[in-house]
């Protein structure tokens, strides 16, 4: 059952003659917009053509052509194909591009990221600070002429290691004998440390408090994290508090910034699959899925039939265990330390057993390959999957609901808290269960079907209120729908080869760009890859769901209590590996 795609021809060239031009490079799609007209065109893209969801903004450094490019990917929440538009500016500092924050506030963090990593100044952005690195860091690391301290060669495999497999310590090649690089004549003793005043100044202050009759209170700034038991890893948030009420809030991230993009541009395509495992480390299977789908799009190769089913089975199992853990962790943050999460982890272990049986690793599966998967499912594992899907998981999901749903404390803590309405959710580019809990039935498995999801009969889980309770319940709905997909996939899975390609160390990827997106358990996980025909990606960008979903957090929790904020973070289901990359 395929979703009808709303086809409305988007003829921006006719609408804006002279202001936009079609992208003529082979393998590229979309249009190039003049920098001066960007805001005007973007407004029309949103209001006239109905692309209300701007999912990704990223930079690309075309150093040979002396150009810096900003690529935008816009979609409609009603489904269907997207629109790519881009701006090209000369690669001479200062590189300036107008910010689109007034049109799609969801670009906030992504523009800051492009500023941090590419040095593209977005004029009109109210708070353009570095986001993944710290203020004061030298250079913009993703530029092609910026070399990391342990730089060896532009691309892998490095000649020093291959073909005779030598080994050298990267430390021996760096003048500081460590992963360090300082500008010439740098003197550490004279260095003035950044006091993060910009961050604290950017926090919203409430100045209307001295109205008569109100007690005059002082505000305090509290830093939560990066070491905090409830921030799900190393996230830090600076909050401005009035008593216990949040007035302003800014997340500070980058504490787990592992330079995924830069390393991905050095890796060969195949080498990069294990790195994607480590993005959202709860769902390595989904990450693999997104990455190989994108590269397959570029390579234009088919996927073996049996492998398609295996992929769906693995991705849906992964979603189930992710949502179970989500529920456990949410309970942790609400104060029922450990007990519900112990139940969740029990089921997770069973799913991980299956992953281990097929791929050899519990968490970091590295299981997908271009054109298929790496190993077939052994018979005993198939039996285990059947037991789980048909017997155990449905029963356990019911049990979990029976234990929790009507618990008085849970209801009191969740019901009616933090209402995010659909309009805001779309504005902030929120995707995944959080968006669907606000009543927008936007699920990429239906809205922009990939793989073989159009063959299965399932409903998109939607809830209407957008409060915490709905966000919690929708996870159960999704587990049930995933089970439905799994039941059908297990029944329909054909015999046959598991890869349409011959096994190879190196794949040939024609030049061009591709933006591949999947519905990961946390939202839209997308990869943007630019290939120039070489064995490694020219530009490799991950559009993580957690990172973009977090953009909405400030507006969501203004005026609420700090204790609710902890639960809200759990509800957004962020994972730092993906957030910081």
């Amino acid at each position: 059952m395929a979703t009808p795609v709303l086809t409305q021809t988007v003829d921006l060239a006719a609408r804006f003659p002279g202001k936009v031009s079609a992208d003529a490079r082979p393998g590229y799609a979309g249009i190039i917009v003049n920098k001066e007209n960007l805001v005007e065109v973007a407004t029309a893209v949103r209001d006239e053509f109905g692309f209300d969801l701007l999912t990704a903004v990223t930079g690309v450094d075309y150093i040979a052509e002396n150009k810096m490019e900003v690529v935008y990917h816009a979609y409609k929440t009603t489904g269907g194909a997207g629109l790519v538009f881009r701006v090209q500016v000369e690669r001479v500092d200062p590189i300036e591009v107008p910010s689109l924050i007034n049109i799609w506030p969801g670009v906030d963090f992504q523009e800051r990221e492009a500023w941090d990593l590419y040095g593209i100044k977005f004029t009109g952005h109210p708070d353009l600070r570095r986001i993944l690195m710290w203020e004061g860091f030298e250079g913009h690391p993703l530029r092609k002429d910026w070399k990391e301290p342990f730089f060896e060669e532009e691309v892998k495999p490095f000649k020093s290691r291959w073909p005779d497999g030598q080994h050298t310590f990267a430390e021996n090649k760096n003048p500081f004998r460590d992963n360090l690089n300082f500008p010439k004549d740098f003197d550490p003793e004279k260095y003035v440390v950044d006091k993060e005043e910009d961050l604290y100044m950017s926090l919203e202050r409430d100045t209307t408090k001295d109205v008569e009759g109100n007690m005059k209170t002082d505000h305090i700034v509290v830093n939560m994290g990066p070491h905090h038991p409830s921030t799900h890893g190393v996230l830090r948030v600076a909050v401005q508090l009035d008593g216990e009420t949040i007035i302003g809030l800014k997340p500070v991230m980058g504490y787990l910034h592992r330079n995924h993009d830069k390393i991905g541009e050095r890796n060969t395509y195949l080498q990069n699959i294990p790195y994607t495992d480590r993005l959202d480390y709860f769902n390595s299977m989904s990450n693999n899925f997104g990455y190989v789908t994108t590269v397959e799009k570029l390579m234009k190769i088919p996927v073996a039939e049996r492998a398609e089913y295996i992929r769906v089975i693995m991705a849906e199992l992964s979603r189930i265990q992710n949502h179970l853990i989500f529920i456990g962790m949410l309970m942790n943050d609400l104060g029922t330390m450990y007990t519900p999460s112990l139940y969740a982890f029990e089921e997770r272990e069973l799913v991980l057993d299956i992953f281990e049986a097929v791929s050899g690793a519990r968490m970091m599966c590295n299981y997908f390959r271009f054109g298929g998967v790496v190993r077939d499912i052994p018979d005993f594992a198939m039996q285990k999957i059947k037991d789980l899907v048909f017997e155990r998981l449905p029963a356990k999901t019911d049990e979990m609901e029976r234990f929790l749903n009507e618990n008085e404390i849970l209801v009191a803590r969740l019901k009616g808290i933090h209402v995010l309405n659909a309009e805001d959710a779309i504005k902030y580019s929120v995707t995944g269960p959080v968006l669907r809990a606000t009543g927008v039935p936007y699920d990429l498995r239906r809205a922009d079907p990939y793989s073989i999801y159009d063959r299965f009969d399932f409903d998109v889980a939607v809830r209407q209120n957008g409060d915490m309770m709905d966000n919690y319940l929708i996870r159960f709905d999704e587990i049930r729908q995933s089970l439905r997909i799994l039941e059908q996939a297990i029944k329909q899975i054909p015999q046959g080869p598991i890869n349409s390609q011959k096994a190879a160390y190196q794949v040939r990827v024609p030049a061009g760009e591709a933006y591949g997106r999947i519905e990961s358990p946390k939202g839209e996980l997308a990869f943007y890859i630019v290939s120039n025909g070489k064995p490694n990606a020219y530009r490799y960008h991950v559009r993580p769901a957690s990172f973009v979903n977090l953009t909405a957090v400030e507006s969501m929790c203004k005026g609420s209590k700090i204790a609710d904020f902890v639960a809200l973070l759990a509800m957004l289901d962020i994972v730092m590996g993906e957030l910081d990359r």
Binding site: E152, N259, M364
Partner: protein, 210 residues
Amino acid sequence: MENEKLSLPNYTIPEDLQNVVAITTLDRLYNWGRRSSVWPLMFGLACCAIEMIAAQTARYDMARFGMEVMRPTPRQADMMLVSGTVTKKMLPSIIRLYNQMPEPKYVVAMGACASSGGPFKEGYNVVAGIDKFLPVDVYIPGCPPTPQALIAGMIKLQEKIDKQSIKHVTWYNKEKKDGNYVPMPILGPDLIDVRRNAEIRDVAAAKESA
């Protein structure tokens, strides 16, 4: 621990006292107490932290070895389990936490990242192993180490504790009071290890201008 293990052999205890009296050394008693309640700092950095959580859940149950009491505050923790990639941006916080932990304290590097930088070593924001800053007691290989491997590593730490002697441990040594204090690194144009200030200045001055 049962009597036989705690008691020193080669001392004959009269038969009628055997269930009442044990002869041992102070070291052994002291270490037995410490090794049986190693409280880790509740602190997860990256993917490895998930396996650390899994090691505490029902199937692996780290509590069997006396190390299940995770403490979110460093003041109550005995052991820092560095579970994941150490980034330059995070490092000052880790060092601060370490300095806030009271003696005796141990550091376990869990996984390839914490031991050496692992798969992300070449990254510009990654510290190539926490042992560049903190004294690591046990390294646990793996990416991520399985919960079994983690537990094996913890048992190695217990073996290490068993071998320590009150006479020599640093935390009773008056001269070495600050022996384990690690100066805080600074986030500058890159990570500044203040212990290496002079070296950094010299190398930077000798650099060819870009």
